[in-house]
């Protein structure tokens, strides 16, 4: 099957029910997307499929066939995406493991809702667990990235 990942079309000989997470990690060597629970509970594996955030551990390859997948590696090569910039300004990561998923969820939120309210942030990010407890800074970074998006649109 064919899946376009980070702008590059990939021809893959894989079982249709293989979760996208393992397609990315074990077949395409894109290890920035993380395994955390395998049950869609923690958000560490969040990627975008056709512009929407999905839990790649719960997304069979067949559901991504013919689709456009964006992973953390495709967001920018130099951490210049406004969300990545805000993440760095607030020194969000601790161990860093869940941060790919956090960032991909935050990007999806801000694409839909450029200036989210606190409640919208809470709701959109509730699916991404961070065991280190970086949540306070996740909120700050999203607010900053949202504010900047608001300014650039004005």
């Amino acid at each position: 099957m064919k899946i376009t990942v980070n702008g590059k079309e990939q021809e893959l000989d894989i079982a249709p029910d293989l979760p996208l997470l393992w397609v990315l990690r074990d077949h395409l060597q894109l290890t920035g997307t993380k395994y955390g629970c395998g049950k869609g509970l923690c958000g560490a594996c969040t990627v975008h499929l056709d512009g929407a955030p999905v839990r790649s551990c719960q997304t069979p390859a067949s559901a991504a066939a013919g689709g456009l997948v964006l992973t953390i590696e495709g967001l920018s090569s130099d951490a210049s995406h406004p969300v990545q910039v805000a993440w760095q300004e607030h020194n969000v990561p601790q161990c860093g493991y869940c941060q790919s998923g956090q960032i991909m969820s935050a990007v999806a939120l801000l694409e839909r809702t450029p200036s989210p309210s606190d409640a919208e942030i809470d709701s959109a990010m509730a699916g991404n667990i961070c065991r280190c407890g970086t949540y306070t800074r996740v909120r700050l970074a999203i607010r900053q990235a949202g504010a900047q998006a608001g300014e650039s649109q004005a």
Binding site: A15, L18, P19, W22, R25, D26, H27, Q29, L30, T31, G32, T33, K34, Y35, G36, C37, G38, K39, L41, C42, A44, T71, I72, E73, L75, S76, S77, D78, A79, Q84, W87, Q88, N91, P93, Q94, C95, G96, Y97, C98, Q99, S100, D118, I121, D122, S123, M125, A126, G127, N128, I129, C130, R131, C132, G133, T134, Y135, T136, R137, V138, R139
Partner: protein, 747 residues
Amino acid sequence: MSMIRKISRRRFLELTGLSASGMVLMGSLPGSALAGVLDMQQGAMLNLFVSVKADGLVEIIAHRSEMGTGIRTSLPQVVADEMEADWSRVKVIQGLANADYGSQNTDGSRSVRDFYHIMRQMGAAARVSLEQAAANRWAANIGDVAASNHQIIHRDGRRLDFGELAAEAARLPMPDMATLRLKSPADFRYIGKDIPIVDLQDMCTGNTTYGIDVRIPGMLFASIERTPVLQGKVRSFDRAAALKMPGVVDVIKIEGKPLPSGFNPLEGVAVLATDSYSAMQARAKLNINWERGVHATHNSGAYLDELAARVSAGPGKVARERGDTEAALGKARKIVEATYVTPYLAHAPMEPPVATAHIHDGICEIWACTQTPQATQKTVAATLGMEDKSVKVHVTLLGGGFGRKSKPDFSVEAALLARDTGRPVQVTWTREDDIRHDYFHSCSAQYYKGGLDDNDKLIAWLAREATPPISSTFKAGANMQDDGSLSMSFGSIPFAVANLRVESHEADAHVRIGWLRSVFNIPYVFGIGSFMDELAHAAGKDPRDFWLETIGPDRELDFADEGFEFSNYGRSLADFPYDTGRLKGVITQLTDTLPWGRTLPAGQGWGLCAARSFLSYVAVATRVEVKDGRLRVMEMHCMMDAGTVVNPDRVHAQMEGAMIFGLSLALMGEIDFKEGEAVQSNFHDYPVARLNQVPHVVKTHIVSSDALASGVGEPGVPPVAPSIANAIFAATGQRIREFPFNKYFSI
């Protein structure tokens, strides 16, 4: 006379306290002794931690594991400061397992407190080597040259970049550590500053290598079905069915060992496949028939009831005694009694345990998200019958650790499977494996009885506990806390009470017990901090005032006269006294930032708790609201006195994280055992805090101090749960004597 003299290895060890040979210059050691380091560093080595390339790039070894504390930045930051390196021209190199570095066991909140001074010495030694090389080049007196921002500058204005001097500096003997001049704190360039972590950008782009990201050509991916009950044995399994599954290459039984568990792998059956998912899926076909063994009788609910009854019923073994507690309780005007219980917990780091092993050319290479590369090296070497030096342990980034990754059992699994298959093997624990087969944080029961006199002052403190000990993991049958474990708050209560007695009861272990972030301070500070609040209310006093009054006068505590061997986290009381003034200091400074004591709307309350752990002093205050049976934590505030602080931003981050870690266990943390098996298995039934559960007000404060640096990673955790329980009481009048609180409230 030159201030540089060659020092003997022995002298160096005396000076630094390190069991190190490698601090001595490379030239004085056989090359093989440093082979493991040399293959990672490309520059000229000035000492074991510092090398400089010809282009001036300074390479600094991080010998501790990065699991989120920022230690890969903080200790190199200290080295760079002392050597006057330009941080933008520093590259941090992760050290392999190597005893020359001293301990690499990254737990116990020890990295900065144990290595701050040594890292300053390493930086200063590198600086002096470069200064001496410049002085030699210029035929000048070393007193006329000085390092500044990556250059050595002569007082006449001549200057040379570090890179131009590296080769010559590396040939000089090691500077005399005894006369080494360290910088004045006023001249610090990086220490005490918010240096962003070196992995920051990579963590934001996915360009990182955790244990689970290691890829070796030809490697197999393994997933292991392990015994559901401690000491269970495989009776039979369906090897053929698993082998038929797509991608599966091999099926291998791993033999468990008798107790103690130590760092041995659990008994199980491994499926090896060409990718992770195939290996995980094929486990379902193994159809293992288990001999469940004696621990299959373990039911945690009934067991905790049994421990609670034991501590309430009668005296145990006395660990500490002052005055005559029974007599004082007999005379007391008011008696307060309470029994607290706390559950088993699992670590649940976001990255589960993962290790990769490759045996080739007579050596075994391990890549692992390990907190303890040296124990990994030793355990793998012993298992394979190799010498330690033949096991090369690469430390990846750790996706969280919290103590779980201090146990190298998962690396041993990978090594055994690599041996048996002759191929590189990566063992990935699933989340279910991680939660069901953890080295669990222990459950605990505690009983307290306090007496108040006519002035409502505390005159007697009786405390009894029963907690399956960590020592059971290393000594079969151990079932009693020793003074070292009781030194985590239970035995070391700092109260100025004339009569006290601290007792322990037996508690058999039925699961693998391990250490989790702040260890026994979690149950004990929950008991102590809650009981202090109960006493305060019985005394009719504001809890803050009661804490301050009961801690009593400023003084340094000494427990020796009371029969208690206080471990003080492995450090001397001379260097790190137990200073009651600092404990009161965090309470007063924290509550001064709050509207403490003012009336709140109905259903709301403030709760307070303070503790000293890992040599640091922490107070936490929490505001909650309880409405229609729903508990909401509204604000969390934390004040920490950790002495000298290297990277304040990372200390704040640890405090923020510790409060959320504490929130998780207080609201939701519980592992139950039914017939010896862990009931919970993933984040649906072992929930941890999510962003929407975290209060919008989380404030952290660091006490400004030039005392010796003390622990940071763990001490924020213990006061959180009792502060919430105390806030619930203030809000509702309901006293909660166990966590998690979701047994009582919706959250």
